[in-house]
Symmetry: C2
Subunit: 422 residues, 2 copies
């Protein structure tokens, strides 16, 4: 090992321990974007930036930036970062590992007095996780100029408007109608993330280098039946929305299983969110609202799935007295990472003596959004049992530290490349 | 028609209109037991009792009583009443029609200066609808002495203890370990209720006279899977609690449908309440909690259903990686109404020229609990389309008025019977 394992590891451990305390106490680990705990973590991060001598700012999309200015006068920038928000009852590493790694890189670039020919920016991308407004990756979509008016004007269940929340945290939602100015000057966006799968752990590989990020589509599926008394409505007189919803859930699961085996590519479909109305033991469900999350590397498999599902829903609407409708609410396209960055990541990991593997991502990431407007690259580090989006999520600080070393070396390698070019 | 239709109808309309305003505004019609709106409605009812010259009290079980004392010195009592609480997003008539009818009877017994040889008590039974503590019929179970310590000590999701809520509203939960003293003196408990089914409406019958109330069992069914990221967990690696729950819901529905056709008796099974955890679009469901509500007039059909369901759950636990358990949380036995009261109801309705029919109840009622400790009888009046436990629930004031006339005449007939005996 030729990187400073111990110093990195203890820094990373300390920062992750600090962030894990900023959670809804009843529901660890929960730090939803714009929540009180999220604001608390942002204050903490601002302070961390300042302690490292980084210049703090918030961009139009509400991303929190810590900037290490180059001693050379330049507008060029390399961005490293990830996100500090979590899903409800999520983990301590998803996103967080990447922000902490970026802090660590900035710290040692500064401490080791490395003169970079570009500015180095640590980013906490605003609200990467899927939120109440039915979108994800608020900050990185904002950078890429793809947060349209319809999304920005959405209200969540508490009646809060997304754009107003972005403005409150220091953004400027009026200016999000095109890619932000910074995109003209980005040399590279780099992100470290836990794998959220088992491949690296099972094959004992230090670093996964991401080749592609799958397309993610989300659909709202609503089943409307007729609420009524559970005692007086005979079995053959009912329009029970939950019974019809159950048929759809089983169907989605079986179909996704079949397609994932057939296509031999990454294909997953999940109904993770479901609400029953009025949700009382003595009332037949009158309405079920659910969200379908669909991720595919193959556009053909995605379309096949949706065609079959839509046909099934038509059929159900004919044979059942409930009425089901399906509506697309979010879409992120399949993207490939920058090929020269993949190549450089590989060389960097090799040069550090770290085992590595080029692989597909299963999850969506801010880097997928950034890749629309700048060269973008991403690495994974192993996590335990592939657990993620749950409290059991775990990654060893020493594993994050290896990834951090790759990130650090990438920045200096990019500096060398950049200097050679000029 | 030989009863005072118009006076009754306008009184009933006025009181139902007043009560329908006391609802959670966002979620009509919702007046959950112990909620702010419930307290508001109780204050209103106290005032109504006082306006009619009834003596107001709250018994140990938290029932709100308006007493019309006999001019004769007696401990004997005839109870008329129902409940003013609702399910979430329920209706304006379930329970309410019975309380308003009882008010109307007390008003005209008083106004017409009828001298009863017993006290007449109007009851608002506390919390008839299924609540957060997994029980129903709090007040009538309390009278019957069947609210055991385990039930009284239960906490709801907000951490409130049932017995503390009963005490707060004026009850005395320490004294609920046996039937209340009043049960020694009850000559009859009479309840008017909307049918919550379509039989009376379709057959154009004025009055349903209840022969029996079905046994109601409630079970909590929990499915434990493994929460995880919806993008990175392959379809064949998942323990999705919602997929397994869906299989159970479909199974329960199909089995209940089959048994209801086979037994040719009242048999219904409903999963009306279901919560997914953590309930986020990007997380595979790790836990599903649901409640099964089972109502049967046949004990054999009930046991057959439970045996088959338990076998299916064992099978699911073997073949799926999720773990399901089922637990009985509430039980009310099948009961028959007092035969002489059924007979008297029939004669009374006939004498008023009202068409009537002896029938089974589909729903559970306070009167089922009271029948354990006193002669109890019940009548139904028609409601629109059989809708109940939903905002569409509707009954004509003129139909409630016909039932009220039967109730009024029952009280005077009981008085005649009682006088003839002495």
């Amino acid at each position: 090992m030729i990187y400073n394992d111990q110093l990195y590891t203890s820094f990373i451990k300390q920062k992750i321990d600090a962030l894990e305390k900023m959670t809804d106490q009843d529901n660890p680990y929960t730090r939803i974007v714009f929540s009180e705990k999220f604001y608390e973590a942002r204050s903490w991060l601002k302070n961390e930036y300042q302690k490292l001598g980084l210049k703090v700012s918030t961009d139009e999309a509400g991303n929190l930036i810590g900037l290490l200015n180059s001693k050379t006068d330049t507008d060029k920038v390399v961005i490293i970062g990830s996100h500090i928000d979590t899903v409800p009852s999520g983990g301590r590493f998803d996103g967080i590992a990447g922000v902490v790694a970026a802090l660590c890189v900035a710290k040692y670039i500064n401490k080791n007095d490395i003169n970079l020919p570009f500015n180095l920016a640590v980013y906490d991308y605003l609200g990467e996780e899927l939120n109440d407004w039915g979108t994800s990756c608020i900050g990185s979509r904002g950078i890429a100029g793809v947060l349209n008016k319809e999304i920005l004007s959405r209200k969540n269940k508490s009646g809060l408007v997304l754009k107003e929340e972005i403005d409150k945290i220091g953004g400027n939602s009026e200016l999000l109608n095109k890619p932000l100015a910074v995109t003209k000057n980005i040399l590279a966006c780099l992100e470290l993330h836990i794998e959220q799968g088992k491949v690296l752990e099972e094959r004992k590989i230090d670093i996964g280098i991401v080749r592609s990020i799958p397309g993610i589509s989300r659909f709202s599926i609503n089943v409307k039946g007729q609420a009524g008394h559970s005692g007086t409505n005979l079995m053959n007189q009912r329009s029970d929305a939950l019974v019809t919803a159950s048929e759809i859930i089983s169907f989605v699961n079986k179909l996704a299983l079949k397609l994932s085996e057939k296509s031999n590519q990454h294909f997953v479909a999940t109904i993770g969110k479901l609400n029953v109305y009025p949700n009382s033991a003595a009332i037949i469900p009158g309405l079920v609202e659910m969200t379908l999350d669909l991720r595919a590397t193959s556009q053909i498999a995605r379309e096949e799935f949706l065609n079959i599902l839509e046909k099934e829903i038509l059929l159900l609407n004919k044979k059942s007295s409930c009425k089901t409708d399906i509506k697309n609410i979010a879409f992120a396209p399949f993207v490939e990472m920058d090929k020269s960055l993949i190549y450089l990541f590989k060389n960097t990991a090799d040069s550090l003596g770290l085992s590595n593997n080029i692989m597909e991502s299963g999850a969506g990431h801010d880097t997928a959004q950034l890749s629309r407007v700048a060269p973008a690259g991403m690495i994974f580090i192993p996590c335990k049992n592939g657990f993620s989006h749950c409290p059991e999520e775990y990654a060893e600080a020493s594993d994050i530290s290896k990834g951090t070393a790759v990130l650090y070396k990438m920045v200096t390698n990019l500096a060398d490349q950049s200097s050679n070019k000029t």
